[in-house]
C-alpha cells in the first residue's frame, strides 16, 4: 500500500454533513469537495483525481452524470457511488457507467475505508 499523502479524492454530495464526515475520515488523503454534479464536473475539468466518491441523487446534475464525466474526462480515476437510494436499478446503472464500488448509506467507517483502499490499490496496480 503506497503513501496516501499524494492520493487525491473528490467528494461529491449535496449533504454538508456527509461531505464533512467523509473529509474527516479521509483526512489522510488530499480531499476536494463538490456540493453538486456541476461543481464536480468543473473540478474534473480542472484536474485529475485518484478517486471520486459521489452521491447519486443531487440537484441539477445527478451522480450518474458525474460518473459519466469521470469516464470521459479522467478515465484513470476510480469512482465510488454512495447513495441512500439503493435499488437494483441505481446500482446497476452506476456500475454500467463505470463505478467501481457502491456504498449504501448509512455505511460504517470500516466499510468505507476498505472500499476506498481497495479502489485506490486497483488504480495503482492498473496505472502501474
Amino acid at each position: 500500500m503506497g503513501s496516501t499523502e499524494n492520493q487525491s479524492i473528490l467528494i461529491v454530495d449535496d449533504e454538508e454533513i456527509i461531505r464533512d464526515f467523509l473529509s474527516e475520515v479521509l483526512e489522510d488523503y488530499e480531499i476536494s469537495l463538490a456540493c453538486d454534479g456541476d461543481e464536480a464536473i468543473d473540478r474534473l475539468h480542472e484536474r485529475s483525481f485518484d478517486l471520486v466518491i459521489t452521491d447519486l441523487r443531487m440537484p441539477k446534475v445527478p451522480g450518474e452524470e458525474v460518473v459519466k464525466a469521470v469516464r470521459e474526462l479522467r478515465p484513470e480515476a476510480k469512482v465510488i457511488v454512495i447513495s441512500g437510494y439503493s435499488s437494483l436499478y441505481t446500482v446497476s446503472q452506476s456500475v454500467c457507467h463505470g463505478a467501481c464500488a457502491f456504498l449504501s448509506k448509512p455505511f460504517s467507517i470500516k466499510e468505507l475505508m476498505q472500499t476506498v483502499t481497495s479502489a485506490l490499490e486497483d488504480g495503482e496496480a492498473q496505472n502501474g
Binding site: I18, F21, G84, Y85, K105, P106, I109
Partner: protein, 557 residues
C-alpha cells in the same frame, strides 16, 4: 234523467223516498179516483132503482084514491113517504093535470120539468131525469101514470046467444086515470160520494206516510252499512288500516262488508310487507353504504400508500443522510477516543469531540422529526378525528417531505404563508395528503427549473360567513385542457403517463376537502400553468353538495 237524479248532491235517503212516494201517490190517486167513480155510479144506480120501485108502489096504491078522487086516501098514502129521507116531493095529478095530493115542495122550474111530463104522457111509461132546482140542488125526478083495470063488454055476442049471463064476454083494459111525480134528492148520494172521497184521501195519506216510513226504514237499513263502509274507507284513506266494518248481514251488503274487511286485511298485510321490505332495504342500504365507506376508506388508504411509495425514495434519502452522519461520527468518535489516551487529549480535540457529539444529537433529532411526520402522514383515515389544526404548520410539515424531491427536480419553491391564520377544525393527516398530492401534481406538470408557488391566506368572518382559510398551489406547467378539467376530480382520471399516477390523488383530495366542508377549485390555461385552491371553513360545516361541474375552465367542488 235517472242518472242525473242519482248523480245529484241530494241526500241518498231523499233520492229513494221522493220518487217512491211520488209513484205511490200517483197510484193511490188513480186507484181512488177509479174506485170513487165506481162507487158514485153505484150510488146513483141504487137511487134510481129505489125511485123506480117506490113510484111503482105508489102508482098502484094511488089507484083507488085517484079513481074515487079521495084526497084523504092519497094524503095518507103520501104521508108514508116521510120514512124515505131521500124523497123531496111527490105529486099526484088527475088526467086534467090538477094536483090531487102532494107532499114536500117542488122547487124545480115548471118549464124544466115540462119536457119530462110531456114525454111521460106521450109514452105512458115510467120516465125519469135529473134536474137542478132553484136552490141549486140536484134532484132525480120520476114520472109514472096511474092506471086502473076496466072490463070491456063485447056487445056483438049478446044477440046471438039470447041469454045475458052466458052470452056476455069481457076483456080487461088498462086505463090511465092520473099521474104521479116523485122528486128524490141526489144530496145523499153526493154526501156518500164525498165521504168516500174523503176516506180515500185519508187512506192515500196514510198509505203515503206508511210508504215514506217503510221506504225510509229500508233505505236506512241499506244506507247505514254504506255509511259505515264510507267512514271506514275514509279512515283507511287517512292511513288507519286497522279499521274493520262490523256488518252482520247475509245479503249483498254483508258480502260487501266481508270483502271490504278482507281487502283491509290484505292491505294491512301488504303494507306490513312493504314496510318490512323497506326496513330490509334500509338495512341493505346501510350495509352497502358501510361497504362503500369501507371501500372508499380502503381507496383513500391505498392512494395514501401510493403517495407514500412515491415519496419513499426521497424520505429514505432524507433519512439515510443524517443516519450516515450519526453512524459515521459516532464510530469516528469512538475510534478517535480509543486511539488517544484521555490525558493526552488536547483542548482542540475536546472541542471536536463536543462538536461530533453535538452533530450526533442534531442529526438524531432530524431523524426523529422525519419519522414522526412519516407516521402522521400514514395514519389510517378510517378513524378520522377532527381537531384544531394549524394549517400553515401542516403545509410546512408537508414541505419537509417534498422539498428534497423538488430540489432534485430543480424546482424552486416560492412559499408565502399568510400570518395570523386561525386554527381550523380538521384532520392534519388528511390535509397533509391533499397538499402532498397538489405539490406532486404541480411538480409533474412543470419543467425542470420552473417554480411552484404556495400561498395561504385568511378570509376573515363577515356576518353569517364564518371565515375561511385558503391554500393555493400554482405551477407554471403545461396546463390542463378544458375537456380534462371537467373530469379532473373523477376517480382514476389521469393525464400522467402510465405508472406515474393512479388517477386517484385529486378524487381523494376532493373527498377529503368535502369532509372538511370545504371547496377545491382549479383554474388552468394551456401552456401557462394551473392553480389549485383549497378553501377550508374555519368552523367545520356539513359537507357541501356537489356543485354543477360546468364547462368553464374553473372547476369547483
Amino acid at each position: 234523467m235517472t242518472r242525473r237524479w242519482f248523480n245529484s248532491g241530494i241526500d241518498l235517503r231523499l233520492k229513494f223516498v221522493l220518487p217512491i212516494s211520488a209513484i205511490v201517490m200517483a197510484a193511490m190517486v188513480i186507484l181512488s179516483g177509479y174506485l170513487i167513480k165506481r162507487q158514485a155510479a153505484g150510488f146513483y144506480r141504487e137511487l134510481e132503482t129505489n125511485g123506480q120501485t117506490l113510484i111503482k108502489i105508489l102508482a098502484i096504491n094511488a089507484e083507488s084514491g085517484v079513481l074515487f078522487e079521495s084526497p084523504y086516501e092519497l094524503d095518507a098514502l103520501l104521508g108514508t113517504l116521510h120514512h124515505f129521507g131521500s124523497v123531496e116531493y111527490c105529486l099526484i095529478k088527475n088526467l086534467e093535470g090538477e094536483t090531487i095530493s102532494h107532499v114536500g115542495q117542488n122547487h124545480i122550474a115548471a118549464e124544466d120539468l115540462q119536457s119530462l111530463r110531456d114525454l111521460g104522457r106521450a109514452t105512458m111509461a115510467l120516465e125519469s131525469g135529473y134536474f137542478m132546482d132553484r136552490r141549486d140542488r140536484e134532484l132525480f125526478v120520476l114520472m109514472s101514470s096511474i092506471t086502473t083495470e076496466k072490463k070491456v063488454l063485447h056487445r056483438e055476442t049478446l044477440g046471438m046467444t039470447g041469454g045475458v049471463d052466458q052470452s056476455l064476454t069481457a076483456s080487461m083494459v088498462s086505463e090511465t086515470i092520473g099521474w104521479i111525480e116523485l122528486g128524490m134528492t141526489v144530496g145523499t148520494v153526493q154526501k156518500a160520494t164525498d165521504d168516500a172521497t174523503w176516506a180515500a184521501v185519508l187512506l192515500a195519506l196514510l198509505v203515503l206516510l206508511a210508504t215514506i216510513f217503510v221506504v225510509a226504514l229500508i233505505v236506512n237499513a241499506v244506507i247505514k252499512p254504506i255509511t259505515t263502509l264510507a267512514d271506514a274507507t275514509d279512515k283507511i284513506s287517512r292511513g288507519d288500516f286497522s279499521t274493520t266494518v262490523d256488518i252482520d248481514q247475509r245479503d249483498e251488503i254483508g258480502q260487501l262488508a266481508k270483502n271490504f274487511n278482507r281487502m283491509t286485511e290484505s292491505l294491512t298485510q301488504s303494507r306490513e310487507e312493504i314496510e318490512q321490505y323497506n326496513r330490509t332495504l334500509e338495512e341493505k342500504i346501510i350495509e352497502r353504504t358501510g361497504q362503500l365507506e369501507d371501500a372508499q376508506a380502503q381507496l383513500i388508504q391505498s392512494e395514501k400508500m401510493g403517495a407514500i411509495g412515491q415519496l419513499a425514495a426521497g424520505v429514505a434519502h432524507e433519512l439515510n443522510n443524517p443516519l450516515g452522519g450519526i453512524l459515521g461520527y459516532s464510530q469516528f468518535t469512538l475510534e478517535k477516543m480509543r486511539k488517544n489516551i484521555p490525558e493526552k487529549t488536547t483542548a482542540k480535540e475536546i472541542r471536536s469531540y463536543l462538536r461530533y457529539v453535538g452533530d450526533i444529537e442534531l442529526q438524531a433529532r432530524r431523524c426523529k422529526t422525519i419519522v414522526q411526520n412519516l407516521l402522521r402522514f400514514s395514519r389510517s383515515s378510517r378513524t378520522v378525528e377532527f381537531d384544531e389544526v394549524d394549517v400553515n404548520r401542516v403545509m410546512e410539515e408537508t414541505l419537509t417531505f417534498v422539498e428534497h424531491q423538488l430540489r432534485i427536480s430543480q424546482m424552486e419553491l416560492e412559499v408565502d404563508l399568510g400570518s395570523s391564520l386561525p386554527r381550523i377544525q380538521g384532520n392534519a393527516g388528511q390535509l397533509q395528503q391533499i397538499f402532498t398530492n397538489l405539490i406532486i401534481n404541480a411538480m409533474h406538470a412543470s419543467e425542470s427549473g420552473a417554480s411552484i408557488q404556495i400561498n395561504s391566506r385568511y378570509c376573515p368572518a363577515l356576518g353569517e360567513f364564518g371565515g375561511t382559510v385558503e391554500f393555493s398551489v400554482t405551477d407554471t406547467g403545461h396546463g390542463i385542457a378544458k375537456e380534462d378539467l371537467k373530469k379532473i376530480f373523477e376517480p382514476f382520471f389521469t393525464t400522467k403517463e402510465v405508472g406515474k399516477g393512479t388517477g386517484l390523488g385529486l378524487s381523494v383530495s376532493y373527498g377529503i376537502v368535502k369532509e372538511h366542508g370545504g371547496e377545491i377549485t382549479v383554474e388552468s390555461e394551456i401552456g401557462e400553468g394551473t392553480t389549485f385552491t383549497v378553501i377550508l371553513p374555519v368552523q367545520k360545516k356539513e359537507p357541501t353538495a356537489d356543485i354543477d361541474r360546468g364547462t368553464s375552465n374553473e372547476q369547483r367542488v
